[in-house]
Symmetry: C2
Subunit: 445 residues, 2 copies
């Protein structure tokens, strides 16, 4: 009898394991405990939570009965994004439901679905006999908040987690056409910028013209960081960037990614940015400095003729190979100091994320095995690919465990990850299970 | 027996006549009805509410028994500012209380206190005999929202309101030293600026570098409107400005306004702005373009790596003589069109206020009479003064009734008008009553 992956997925989706929300810490732990149970049921051993101070726990399990064969670390995360606006969902985000060909619920695509595919693959193989390789499973609870304490967990349990290579199930494949092997991600750093003026909001009739205007000054600071093409004007921002060669650019050019169609899907007439790079390259191979939020004063649709005392902005940078998060933050802070006008206090408060870009190669045994699996499943050779997003674990695993991580996951590009009505295709659950069965065979060599 | 002005003031202060809050429309009307009653009690006649569609009512009353003598329109307003943060008040804003030498409550200083001084002056004179001049009282309910429907009320009742001159009680005097005759105000216009990008917030990992960033673009738009000294870079903004002569500047220079002390009271090391003008001139004689609010994205103290789809800003301009609100708004809209980048939709939505600057002269009979009264009360000749704020009624009365308005009011500069713990000195109530008794005698000629 083959287990239906939905038997395991639906209860997991029902738990709101939102790592960003301190009020949900109990739910995050409940999801970890459910996963412990699933790992045990699936025949894995040494099942336990890995903890670090202040951290949501990681789930660990292993099966190590084939000494002499490689040991593979299988990575996933069970935490999910917040639900900003439940009203834009067709059904409650944490009441998972199968509609048509898909299962709907927060985390279905990112990545409780792909994670369950991986676990049911192990379960089905263990039900049949020994695995072809040794396996260690690591399921993180803080990926969606950029893994602030995963390094501490890896350091505390370095011996336990020692392995020859790693594979992450946190990946996607195109809906149709040629599959892809994910060979890297962008990094991330972020900061809050705060401008303080007079001790209190002031009346613009009494003081307008003489009191410094914090939102205006903040707007000028932010504006000074880009030229009209969106090129970042912060001294040193691009210094360490390893510029990809023409060969790499050609190799990484995606198939079936039509800029105009992609822009139209967002109701845009085209894409912005540096014309020396294709729109796709701008979102994957080039670094960014983005304003994610700016706030000052009362509601913008009301008239309140005050000069606000305070203005806040949040900036984040997507980083490419060569760039160090700390150097980039220091360059931004130096830029702010250089252009800061007098009379106001400006604070550059480093943020939550600090992750360099990640790269692995098609030649690495794990990526070679992933490519073989994809060729087998899709009937054609996969393309190389890098992703514009950020998965902190990839860098942390390399730093602390000394191994590279390949990626094999079947989220769909259209499955509304991080958005409303997130879903995962039921067929992708089966494909994921088949893929992981094939993968372990290939990794056995 | 002399009436205590507090008998009338305290019940009026207890009514939250906040014109900006639609939910308070009933309270605004209740305050108007209380004033009708006070006018009747005080011996005024023809007491009634003046209405216009959508308007908070104005209170009208008159006494016209000395034909051949001048008719003076006495202006005040009974609406008050909102209470943004009751927690920063020492006592409930609408539970008036006398503590020490002052009465505390929203509107005490701006301007229910000065308004009651004017009414008790009329009451006390009418109790003694005929007034020396004909009087028409006009008490507005929309001053704090820039009098959007006062023009309609003046037009509907032009005959009723016909007069030879006007005096507003909405004015202030310094706490010590030389009194001042208020000869003008700045005008005001405002707008909302909205930038729309993609149809929804987008993931900065997936799209960062190619999707236009509305808050960034809004910051650049706002930044493009000023140079480093705060000079406005909008073409045409200064075109019509009547630049004051050196003589006027010398005449209007305030006594006892120390820029460094004034800045220090706001916890600033000095004032910003164009060094060709003194800080005081920047707040009264020069126009401004101020960013009052800017909002986009989630909380700035959280990490949410999205590119917001929408960004809003509110801008208001304080205007000086020569500038037309509509021309200034049109110049800003043209500037925005000129510098707007492609791919985003930018909307310039005209706002709530549209008031040119106001000027009267020391030579006008009403201002001459005000100056005489101040000389008598303070024992020294008053200085000329203009105010950086905006009182729409002054312009509207000139436009619709063809008369200039002098100002005689005794709010203190430190009485927290528009702020928490607003108060009015009890002594200023008596001074206001004495001043209006003197004023009517002087106006009789």
């Amino acid at each position: 009898v083959t287990r239906d992956p939905l038997d395991w997925l639906l209860p997991l989706l029902a738990i709101p394991s939102i790592s960003a929300d301190p009020a949900r810490a109990g739910d995050v732990r409940a999801a970890a405990e459910l996963l412990l149970e699933l790992c045990r049921t699936g025949g894995l051993r040494n099942v336990r939570l890995l903890e670090a101070p202040g951290a949501h726990p990681s789930v660990y399990a292993d099966w190590l009965d084939v000494p002499g064969r490689p040991t593979v670390l299988l990575y996933g995360h069970y935490d999910v994004q917040p639900v900003i606006d439940q009203s834009s969902w067709s059904s409650p985000a944490f009441t998972p439901v199968v509609r048509g060909e898909a299962v709907f619920g927060r985390g279905a695509s990112d990545m409780k679905g792909p994670l369950i595919s991986m676990l049911v693959a192990l379960e089905s193989m263990l039900a049949e006999g020994p695995l072809p390789v040794n396996v260690k499973v690591l399921l993180e609870g803080e990926e969606e908040i950029f893994s602030p304490r995963l390094r501490a967990i890896l350091q505390r349990h370095r011996e336990l987690l020692r392995c020859d290579m790693a594979v992450s199930a946190d990946g996607s494949q195109p809906l149709a056409g040629t599959p892809r092997v994910m060979l890297g991600t962008r990094g991330l750093c972020d900061l809050e910028l705060i401008v303080r003026g007079a001790r209190t909001d002031t009346h613009s009739g009494q003081y307008g013209g003489a009191v410094p205007n914090p939102p205006q000054i903040l707007a000028e600071l932010v504006a000074s960081m880009h030229d009209a093409d969106g090129t970042v004007l912060v001294d040193g921002f691009y210094d360490a960037v390893r510029v990809p060669s023409a060969v790499e650019r050609a190799q990484l050019a995606p198939s079936g990614w039509e800029p105009l169609a992609e822009a139209a899907s967002l109701e845009l007439d085209g894409f912005a940015g540096d014309p020396e790079w294709t729109p796709w390259e701008r979102t994957t191979l080039r670094p960014t400095l983005e304003l994610n939020a700016i706030h000052s004063g009362y509601a913008a649709d009301r008239l309140m003729t005050a000069i606000p005392a305070l203005a806040h902005a949040r900036i984040s940078c997507r980083l490419v190979p060569g760039q160090h998060p700390e150097h980039v933050l220091a360059a931004i802070a130096a830029h702010v100091r250089r252009v800061a006008p007098p009379l106001v206090q400006i604070e550059c408060r480093p943020g939550f994320a600090s992750t360099p870009a990640y790269r692995t190669t098609r030649q690495h045994p794990a990526s070679r095995a992933v490519a073989q699996v994809l060729t087998e499943l899709y009937g054609r050779e996969p393309l190389d690919n890098v992703d514009g997003g950020t998965i902190a674990a990839l860098t942390l695993i390399e730093d602390e465990l000394g191994v590279e991580t390949a990626t094999l996951g079947f989220a769909g590009d259209d499955e509304n990850a991080h958005g409303a009505d997130e879903f995962h295709r039921v067929a992708s659950l089966a494909r994921g299970r088949a893929a992981y069965r094939l993968l372990l065979d290939r990794l056995a060599g």
